[in-house]
């Protein structure tokens, strides 16, 4: 499929406003770029919508009441507009048809000025929530779905932690909760890792916990997950980076794993020491390489969240590597299309 053709398909993500039928819809388009659409009257279509690609920052302005809906359309990406017929949606995928320049300028299709999100959005509604579809192919056993979803949930937790640690908006309480969750694990192998990831979404306050929306058991089929759009985007970026750096990351992983084995630190307590400062610092350097390989450019803040304990830090990073590799394996096998 060419880029131009890809731009002409979109997946319905969320109905933002329903009144006598859907009126405003959010969709995911090419490269998961957001599309906003309003219901209109248009000859030849049963349930027509007028739509445009939009930048996330413009959509955010609308969502947060800093701009009206007209502004979002006026700042359409590439000044291109589309129609689609909701009635023709198949499995939530719609076909976009380019509007002519006359149609694009026709006020009948545009929302009037002064329509703000406050007309339909309450403050506690999470508008970053989105549905992300992962197309699947090949043979899938029931256990594969469980494994894939578990790895995706863990990866979502990792990227949520990254967001919390990197954001200046994170409250001291949230940072303290995350810090406690990390340092209070025993990190002695086995279930101690599960005990870190599994309670993540219940112990740390994140606005959009990930959940499974639907699974279409077919080949090809799809898995739809619901979660924060920004976290999903981080996951996509991490996988792309990981693919580019997999050899370097795998080498660093093997090195740390080997050293922890030689130093008998794999199942030891977090307070255990390395045999020398040089080894300890080298392990830290290799752990930084792994984080860099998945697009985390600020390993120091992860290190800080481990109370600067290099043994905890290295074990946390090894667990991150295993989980990202787990997701990547499904992609490299051709069984999951990530983007």
């Amino acid at each position: 499929m060419t880029h131009q053709q890809s731009r002409l398909h979109a997946t319905i993500s969320k109905t933002l406003l329903y009144y006598d039928g859907p009126q405003i819809i959010l969709l995911n388009g090419f490269s998961n770029m957001p599309i906003i659409a309003v219901a209109v009257n248009y000859d030849g279509m049963e349930y027509p919508f007028f739509a445009c690609y939009t930048q996330q920052k413009h959509l955010d302005k609308y969502i947060h009441g800093k701009a009206d809906l007209h502004f979002v359309f006026a700042n359409a990406h590439m000044s291109e507009y589309y129609f689609f017929d909701l009635f023709e949606a198949n499995n939530d995928v719609v076909n976009l048809i380019r509007a002519t320049s006359d149609e694009s300028r026709n006020n009948d299709f545009w929302p009037s000025k002064g329509f703000f999100s406050s007309n339909h959005i309450l403050e506690n509604e999470n508008l970053h929530d989105t549905r992300r579809r992962f197309n699947i192919n090949g043979a899938w056993e029931a256990d594969d779905f469980t494994q894939f979803n578990r790895k995706m949930f863990d990866m979502y937790a990792i990227m949520s932690a990254k967001k919390i640690l990197e954001s200046v908006d994170s409250t001291p309480e949230t940072l303290a909760e995350l810090n406690a969750l990390i340092i209070n694990q025993s990190w002695e192998g086995g279930n101690s890792y599960v005990n870190f990831y599994k309670p993540f979404t219940t112990k740390i306050e994140i606005h959009s916990p990930i959940k499974v929306k639907s699974i279409q058991y077919a080949s090809p089929g799809n898995i739809d997950l619901i979660g924060d759009k920004n976290i999903f985007d981080e996951m996509s970026r991490a996988i792309t980076k990981f693919e580019q750096n997999i050899e370097k990351a795998a080498k660093a992983y093997q090195y740390i794993n080997k050293i922890l084995g030689q130093e008998k630190l794999k199942t030891s307590k977090a307070s255990s020491e390395f045999s020398s400062e040089a080894i300890k610092n080298h392990v830290k350097g290799q752990a930084d390489i792994i984080l860099n390989s998945i697009g985390i450019d600020t390993p120091a803040i992860f290190m800080h969240s481990c109370n600067d304990n290099i043994l905890i830090y290295s074990k946390l990073v090894l667990s991150i590597f295993r989980r990202i590799k787990g997701v990547y394996n499904f992609i490299s096998e051709g069984r999951v299309q990530f983007n």
Binding site: T15, Y19, P22, N119, H120, I121, L122, N124
Partner: protein, 124 residues
Amino acid sequence: MFAETLPNGCPPSDAIESDGRMAIRLLKSPNPTEKDFYSHAKLGKRKPESVSFCVWASCSLSSIQSATNLPKLPKLRGKDYYTKIILKKESGMLKVSDSGHIDFWMYATFDPVGASTGVWRIDP
């Protein structure tokens, strides 16, 4: 007994009986008729895949005053009036979303025009 034939399992289990609240219905003219409260299903409109049969068979109302801004949207243009109706226990069943939208399944005995407390013009 509902005013319209509803699909099985409709209204949904989380719908509640009307509780005396007031709700807004947009109108095209200052003289509402029963037809202004028909669902899309009753009007014979075909349902898109993304909407459930049950919601398609409901009448849209709003519990927030700013619903009077909805005619700024292209498909709702021309709905220049609104009425406020009182939804008493004997009116029907409703489901209220966080956004203030109400799916309303009215009982056969309910007269929405009679329940109207007045009609107002929406300032352009």
